[in-house]
Symmetry: C2
Subunit: 351 residues, 2 copies
């Protein structure tokens, strides 16, 4: 059985391991990839002469239709498992909604698993994938994943024709095509906005060490400061968990210590809201005394007061990319190793 993800567009260094795809067959037979798929699916809508040309190209190129598409025809389950860090966080529930709707358009159902930030659960679910007769697995987690450990398991699944994608975290260097929001560039843009509006020093609040996206966002903050010739003040970098209470505590502690800062970039809207509550509770004005920017573009951010300035998200676009990637894998086509979705800076009242 072939590995579905072998059909990812190879990097130059991988050329010698290049694998024949439906597109190669189509080119040789002088037909469209869709026609090749129809022939391979055994559908009789293709003219006999065309059909013969396609089959000849298949033989000449020693092409094997990928296991993913074969599975579909052979009655494998129709379910894709979505593994999320924490479904209760709006970032993940919005993602779940849009991924489910998009996969449904191509006839795939969504099995949902909540990882609860536990790596043993991720491993356990990968181990169960075969028994669940999964068509694909989508990992939507910001946690640092021990990919070196999991790689043999992932490769074995891919060889069995289970397509594996990542959302939000770049795992393409482990052979997992990834659809991600821009993180470093977005954080840099927000920090730059605070610098441009005279809001330095800028404090930074995030889960950093244990969060892959947290690390990427932090790099954006560092880059913006460096670009402005400002040294990072370690006292203004607050590494914490990422929910409301952590934001409240971090801001309270900083104000107790009378640290000097005029703004805060928080790596989640929850952290930003918690931090804002702490500032307001001490009689500070937002944004006059401290400007605050969040991350995520969560719906309530527009309705709290002051309304939260934030780096938005586009879960609908991510869902559509995931759908298109599964459709391509199904057709034996290529999928990009990495797709980046833009984050808009949504300027409201808090900064």
């Amino acid at each position: 059985m072939r590995q579905a993800l072998d059909t990812i567009a190879p990097r130059p260094a991988d050329r010698e391991r290049q694998v024949t795809t439906v597109v190669d067959v189509a080119r040789r037979a002088g037909v469209s990839a869709a026609t090749v798929s129809r022939v391979l699916a055994g559908r009789n809508v293709v003219a006999a002469a065309t059909r013969e040309r396609v089959l000849e190209a298949v033989r000449a190129l020693q092409f094997q239709p990928n296991a993913f598409a074969q599975g579909l025809r052979s009655g494998r389950g129709q379910a894709v498992a979505l593994l999320v860090s924490d479904i209760e966080q709006t970032v993940y529930s919005a993602l779940t909604k849009h991924v489910q709707a998009a996969l449904e358009e191509i006839g795939l159902d969504l099995l949902l698993f909540n990882l609860g930030h536990r790596q043993d659960r991720l491993r356990g679910l990968l181990e169960r994938a075969t028994a669940l007769r999964l068509r694909g697995i989508v990992i939507a987690s910001n946690d640092v994943i021990p990919m070196r450990e999991l790689k043999p398991l992932v490769s074995a699944l891919q060889r069995q024709g289970v397509s594996i994608l990542s959302i939000g975290q770049r795992l393409d260097r482990y052979g997992i095509p990834s659809v991600v929001h821009e993180e470093t560039a977005a954080a840099a843009r927000a920090a730059q906005y605070l610098l441009d509006t005279g809001r330095a020093p800028i404090a930074y609040l995030s889960r950093i060490r244990n969060s892959a996206t947290g690390q990427e966002r932090y790099r954006g903050y560092l880059a913006a400061l460096k670009g402005a010739g400002i040294d990072v003040d370690p006292a203004l970098v607050w590494d914490c968990s990422y929910r409301y209470a952590a934001g409240y505590e971090a801001m309270s502690r900083a104000l107790d210590r009378r640290l000097a800062f005029r703004s805060l970039l928080a790596a989640s809207d929850e952290l930003a809201l918690g931090a804002m509550a702490a500032a307001l509770d001490r009689g500070l004005k937002v944004p006059d005394d401290v400007a605050i920017i969040g991350f995520g573009g969560i719906a309530w951010g527009e309705h709290v007061r002051p309304a939260l300035t934030t780096l938005g998200a586009d879960p609908k676009a991510i869902g559509e990319h995931v759908r298109d990637m599964f459709r391509n894998l199904l057709d034996g086509g290529d999928v990009p190793r990495q797709t980046v979705v833009k984050r808009p800076l949504l300027l409201r009242q808090s900064a």
Copy 2:
């Protein structure tokens, strides 16, 4: 094949249609229900004499193990479908998290479907249940469901051994065991609190006509007013959709019209937050000028300012009830027709 839901504890009027359960067999054989289950599952851990007594009782009572438990042994899928109105709403994502975790404890996976408030999707998913080899279906929807239309479909599935439960909405009169939060009593308690603290007239904001739970909550508001000898002012009952923007618009319109009210009971936290923003934007003080109570106990409610007073929820308790019900159905035991989970009134700053 028997209908799994026949094993619900019968109402007195149903006595003549009472069905033999594992518990009846256990009583007659003088053993525990667990022992009966072990014998029926063909496990050899039971002493031969005990085993014989159980099988004798099975024959005497003409007991047939239910299709649900049979399905488990015969390799039917392990998935339960959860159908939610809108996964992006925190009420439903919190529920999803806890139901998934609880079902996993008994080895069941969760297939998630987002209904998007569409009745045709509910019907479509019920029609696909057999093809999906579902073990059970949990409907978590506040929308008014055309149960009379759907009843034949539901009954057919139940006869095939697919267990169907409802969360949040009472469907027990259609043979669907339901786990619900208290709604009418909770709304009445909140309205009573506003009356007791001198906050009349009380405006009421909710999706009412199209929402089953909305109707229940509205009855609580009516009951509290009636108890206080106050006539309902139709101008103070605002029937709308249930998201933030609808709350903002309803409050803005009421203030434009200079309606006289001193408080607002909103049937969701989203509506309450939107309405609060509209009041704050016009320079009103919450709770001094207008007190506001929401519904749902959503996490951000504690962190907005003023912090939102609300009727809380207990999604963990609901998940555990759902788990216990599936476990009982699996064992051929009884499940209650209706389980009510309490809502606490969480007093914060907004009322």
